[in-house]
Amino acid sequence: MNYGPAEMMIVSMARLLRNGERVFHGVASPLPMIAIQLAKRLHAPDLVYLNIPGGVDASPHRLPTSTVDSLLVENSSSLFSLTEIFDLSARGGLDTAFISGVQIDLYGRINLSCIGDFKQPKVRLTGGAGSAVILPTAGRVILWRTKHNPKVFVKKCDFITAKGNVERVITPLCIFRREKGRLVLESIHPYSNLKEVIQETGFPIESRKEYSITKEPEDGELTILNQIDPMRVRDLEFK
């Protein structure tokens, strides 16, 4: 079956999720929203899905275009508010969180605040939402970003909005794993190559020798992904 970066990224995210663990995504997070539903349909039916509207294990009748939409309380087993989710993470009870970054550096630190100076920014960005608390407190953080170029994957963030327990970074080209505090190339997606990854990454790619090729999305994975997201909400992140 056909697939592109969106499908490759979602499937990569879903594969990382474990049955039974507590997983959170926040605002502006279509890919994680879809990846969580996919993981629940595949290998992780008892994954505990937490989101900002507060639905626990929500299973909405259709996917919203906003990932804080009230649809994300549909068919929940209880309500567990954003405040509660932060508390849970703060006390060590959140296993996995998905966070994005406008800039991401070699150490997995992210910038969601500003380009240029914080007080007199060239570009004021969205702000880091909960990331400055989630990155240091969640069991692990999976970063993702739907653009892979040297402006995103930078030598140095203009501002460090958050730093912490980043485990992996999912991009349209590859997957990074964090080892000894630094991002190392874990695998390159089948349609990309090492040259492209190096060219599009602003920080040096370490440990080149050990990377692999990301396993292609399987037909079964793609079939269920399309059932979950027939309207292609996932494409919103690639506009």
Partner: protein, 267 residues
């Protein structure tokens, strides 16, 4: 049912002084007090400090209308479909609005300090972030053992403006579905104004007092505003009016857009 604390939109907005700290209920495009916010803009309030974990339309519109001096928030944007908040972004870049960036949890913690009557609230996390440095968040020693922890300063809104599904005329009120940080805001603020989809008989609400998350004695006034969250959604009554959001953003992309937008949209 026009009795008790029910007042007109004009009157309720007139209570808010320039320079007030105003917490806005809802989240991004969900259950925001949009009609109230537009009336704030029409009455030309100045120097407001807005408090919200994550906002979009409401914060951007108030910035566009020149009402805002500071925004205390974790996230200001319309998300993927509609993009960045254009007026907020521009005015922060021009130095006309101060982005008092918070982690969403530090907004919550600062509101907790207000609700709990304490000057500051310890908060986990923030290690390694530049936010404490640029925002002046202090780190203090744990007096009971090793280590230190960040503490955020109390942030007490003068007003919390909350759009609810149902309220009686005294202010006993209900939110159905996601509550976001609204209940905490109602406790943290000095005064609460509700805008309500429905003004209902108190007797009906008393049949399930445990569902009335906001008690009457915290509420100063109620404005009856069916559809008052639009173009944001109000679960379970109506979803986000995506055309309405686009129309706002289109007006903004013109020069004097927000004034014209406010003339077109009612209330």
């Amino acid at each position: 049912m026009k009795e008790g604390k029910v007042v007109s939109l004009k009157e309720a907005v007139s209570w808010i002084d320039d320079g007030s700290v105003v917490a806005l209920g809802g989240n991004i495009l969900n259950r925001c007090p949009s009609a109230f916010v537009r009336e704030i803009a029409r009455q030309g309030k100045r120097g407001l400090e807005i408090v919200k974990t994550a906002g979009a339309y409401d914060i951007d519109l108030l910035c566009a209308a020149g009402c805002v001096s500071k925004v205390h928030a974790g996230f200001v944007s319309f998300e993927n479909e509609f993009g960045l908040a254009p007026n907020y972004r521009r005015l922060v870049e021009e130095g006309k609005v101060e982005a008092c960036e918070h982690a969403c949890y530090t907004v919550i913690s600062a509101l907790r300090a207000a609700a709990y009557g304490i000057p500051f609230q310890p908060v986990a996390g923030l290690n390694g972030s530049d936010l404490p440095r640029v925002r002046g968040m202090k780190r203090i020693r744990n007096p009971y053992g090793r280590g230190a922890i960040y503490v955020v300063e109390r942030l007490q809104p003068d007003w919390a403006i909350i759009h609810v599904n149902e309220s009686d005329s005294r202010g006993n009120a209900r939110i159905y579905g996601p509550q976001f940080e609204d209940i905490l805001m109602s406790r943290a603020a000095k005064n609460v104004i509700l805008t309500a989809e429905h003004i209902v008989e108190g007797e009906r609400l008393m049949e399930h007092p445990e569902m009335n998350q906001i008690p009457h004695f915290l509420v100063r006034g109620i404005v009856h505003l069916p559809g008052g969250a639009a173009p944001c959604g109000c679960y379970p009554y109506y979803e986000v009016d995506r055309e309405g959001v686009k129309r706002y953003l289109e007006y903004c992309s013109k020069g004097t857009g927000v004034k014209e937008y406010l003339m077109e949209v009612s209330p």
